[in-house]
């Protein structure tokens, strides 16, 4: 395929993904907006006012970057996992398999679709947070790079989950039992300085901690870890997951007999 044909194919997948999640906006865009608003009200305003400062900022300001990141992570992941698995389930994935679109372009299209939803939610949650607190950006480049890479990483994770899933239960196991605990324990609501030494060490093994802190550094200028280590970690995970996803696609795992 020529470059322009490849671009058309990629753009077709991306626009189809955007069309999908905007068509079903009450299932995709509205729930995270409602959930995050509740977090802002309950944890930020009601409980946060009694907690006081954390990392030199009031509690609401401290948790906003983490909550934005949490929304980006879960939505990037769930967009790709549910969309790709639905295509497998309906067999409409065969439309792509018979076409000349190379595997890397299929993967890029889905990841871009997941990023489109993750970043849309990120923007919505950011706008909602402005109703509760003021945000000043410490390092815009860090904010943009961290959120883009994190969104790409979890879109890749969702893709792999969808490739390996054989039934609908399989696409909710990872978000429920892996993603949510890691996010909650990834420093969204607290600084790991508050933890005893042992648990601080354990927390350092949680990849989401690096993403939340990298993003928090971009907005507030404070972080539990070196922000450049965060970016490095995300980049390494992206390369690893992309390699796994491409391997599964070339083997046709779950999509070719």
């Amino acid at each position: 395929m020529t470059f322009s044909a490849l671009w058309t194919a990629f753009y077709t997948i991306l626009t189809r993904e955007i069309r999908r999640f905007t068509r079903i906006w009450p299932q995709t865009l509205l729930p995270p907006a409602v959930t995050m608003t509740l977090y802002f009200i309950i944890f930020g305003s009601l409980i946060g006012s009694r907690i006081g400062e954390m990392g030199g900022f009031d509690y609401m300001q401290f948790i906003v970057p983490g909550l934005i990141m949490m929304a980006v992570i879960t939505n990037s992941y769930s967009n790709v996992v549910s969309s790709f698995f639905s295509m497998k389930f309906q067999r409409s994935i065969e439309e792509l398999l018979v076409s000349p679109v190379p595997n890397w372009a299929i993967l890029a299209g889905y990841v871009a679709g997941g990023m489109a939803r993750g970043l849309s939610i990120g923007v919505i949650v950011t706008l909602l947070s402005l109703a509760f607190t003021q945000l000043s950006i410490h390092n815009l480049a860090m904010v943009v790079v961290t959120v883009f890479l994190t969104s790409a990483l979890f879109s890749l994770g969702g893709f792999i989950n969808a490739m390996l899933a054989t039934k609908f239960d399989d696409i909710s196991i990872v978000p429920t039992f892996v993603l949510t605990p890691l996010t909650y324990l990834g420093g969204v609501f607290y600084s790991i300085d508050m933890l005893p030494g042992f648990w601080q060490g354990v927390s350092m093994a949680n990849p989401i901690l690096y993403m939340v802190n990298g993003f928090r550094y971009g907005i507030l200028g404070v972080s539990d870890v070196n922000p450049f280590v965060s970016l490095g970690m995300i980049a390494v995970f992206i390369v690893l997951l992309a390699a796994v996803a491409l391997h599964l696609l070339s083997r046709g795992k779950g999509i070719r007999h």
Partner: protein, 316 residues
Amino acid sequence: MTYALEIEGLLKNYGDGFQALKGIDLRVAEGDFFALLGPNGAGKSTTLGIVSSLVNKTAGKVRVFGHDMDTDLSRAKLSLGVVPQEFNFNQFEKAFDVVTTQAGYYGIPLRQAKASAEKYLKKLGLWDKRDTPARMLSGGMKRRLMIARALVHEPKLLILDEPTAGVDIELRRSMWQFLEDINRQGTTIILTTHYLEEAEALCRNIAIIDRGEIIRNTSKRDLLQQLSVETFLLDTENTLAGPPDLPGFEVKLDDDGALEVEVSKGTSLNALFIELEKQGIRVLSMRTKANRLEELFVRMVEENAKQAHKVVEVSS
């Protein structure tokens, strides 16, 4: 000669040890209207699945218009349009979007994709339904939508896996007409079907596959010439109590009281009517029992099954 499809030594073993294809060879010439026939589980859909990249082969070579699917997959796929047996489009998309999205996968820019989608949806009588979600279409409309989708990038080879399954007779005939038209315009067509009348009406060349092997691959004319016996049904004026004795003919009386007569190849039908005349039986109408290809197909598959059974007996 240019071949639209060349298959050499195609082998497919499934994980459970089942051998779906036992190294088949097949060639389909450019411009042909070709039928791949066989009973359920014979290997038809596996063969077409491999050609369509939906099934991984175990061994063998597949070339589409000379493009090797191992080394030149992209060009091979660009030459190919596929209409599968099962509905496999996004049920929530509008009919128009199903077709234009497929065009996008082939790298066709949106404006051109819309024009092509309009052309084929109109030709297939679906233009009025373009904004209807695919799941709301009738079974026949869904089949036609899959044909429009397969043609949107103007492939040189169109593969149809049981395209008229579950379609009423009137619609089936209009689909035949459509397929004959695009074949006349140069598109090579390969189809599988359980309606042997369909293969007899449309195809010029036929391969019969059974138990993962091609047991016959020839022109329809040659195949039909192999038919040694044809069965006719005769409606008679007289009500017959039992089958009459007609020397030289196998005669039965069917449940509706019609005479079922087997006529060997080369036997004159005049001889049959002379015998009927002698017995005072007046014939009001006459028709063939089944279409000729169907008769031949059933015999070949039964013969192949008997031989396979013998091999098993000898080897066990």
